[in-house]
Symmetry: C2
Subunit: 196 residues, 2 copies
């Protein structure tokens, strides 16, 4: 077999991930059969599974990316950017994630793996929240873990609503209420800025 | 066929719904086959489908009940009771609801039917929110629809988290932050009471 460069390997990996994401979104996780993965990626099963040991690993690589992307957005541009990203995300892809909820509950190793997506992004968000609190932009009378939990519930709810095909609530309204919930002395009920 | 009384019919209907709920929770919506529904309800398919035209209608009758129960809780006892109910709800049953998210998005008549669950409960919640606002317990600078939407996102997020098997956040923490988000002049950041 001819050797291929690291760069080629990377390109091939991207090709698989992009095709698989389309395939999952179009057919759901269960419906993304090997034949369909071949069609969407334009690669043979041999090639695909040379890069990823299983369909599950392909899906988890995509989930890692999502978590990393949203974590970066939050850390770099604030919560408004995350809300906008979810409002614009493909509902089919959001729905695919929900297909695995039962699996997450009943398969502990899968749940653990899911929780460990993008650990660096989580670290960045934590730093962002600490900085925002130091600047008085996040309330200091509840633990930061509670702030993160609360925002997480809202984002999950938003993803669920969009996956179900309901019209998305207006991002500005969500952000205004989030700001009241978690905003600190520098911003509560004052002219709205972007919450942490 | 012998005639049975209205009371007997009602009892039979309850028996079907109770068994079907257990069956859906244990096997998921797709996994709840007719044979399993027969086993869990203790009734023949003939008897079951004499009361409900289809599996979908049984599921929707259960969804109506849930919506009605949570709506009543909110209207009669406040949001804290709803949060506690979700924290205590069977995660298997919560997960079953999520199985139908794709269907909701892709089947408009199903989505419409889902939205029309328990219209009276929705009316009661609206009245409750209007009363709470009149009493200064709900902020008056955002539309009540936005308040309802925000709480809905949080409850959906909580249901999703529990369905996925993650530990439930503490109800008191959620309620404290919700209160800050939607509470009115009579309560913002004062000793906590039960939010609307």
């Amino acid at each position: 077999m001819p050797k291929i460069s690291e760069e080629q390997r990377e390109r091939r990996r991207e090709q698989i991930l992009a095709g698989a994401r389309r395939c999952f979104a179009a057919h759901g996780y269960e419906g993304a059969t090997v034949i369909r993965l071949e069609q969407e990626t334009g690669l043979s099963r041999g090639a695909i599974f040379n890069y990823f040991p299983s369909k599950e690993e392909i899906f988890l690589a995509l989930a890692d990316r999502d978590a990393d992307r949203l974590g970066r957005l939050w850390a770099d541009e604030g919560l408004a950017a995350v809300v906008h990203a979810l409002v614009e995300e493909d509902p089919d892809w959001l729905g695919t994630n929900l297909e695995l909820v039962r699996r997450m509950r009943t398969d502990e190793s899968f749940r653990t793996r899911w929780k460990q997506r993008a650990p660096e992004a989580e670290e960045r968000i934590k730093t962002r929240l600490e900085d925002a609190r130091a600047a008085g932009e996040v309330r200091d009378d509840v633990p930061l873990e509670s702030v993160g939990m609360f925002v997480g519930l809202l984002m999950d709810g938003l993803a669920l609503r969009r996956a179900a095909g309901f019209p998305s609530p207006e991002a500005g309204t969500i952000l205004e209420l989030v700001d009241s919930a978690i905003g600190g002395r520098a911003r509560s009920r004052t002219p709205r800025r972007t919450p942490a």
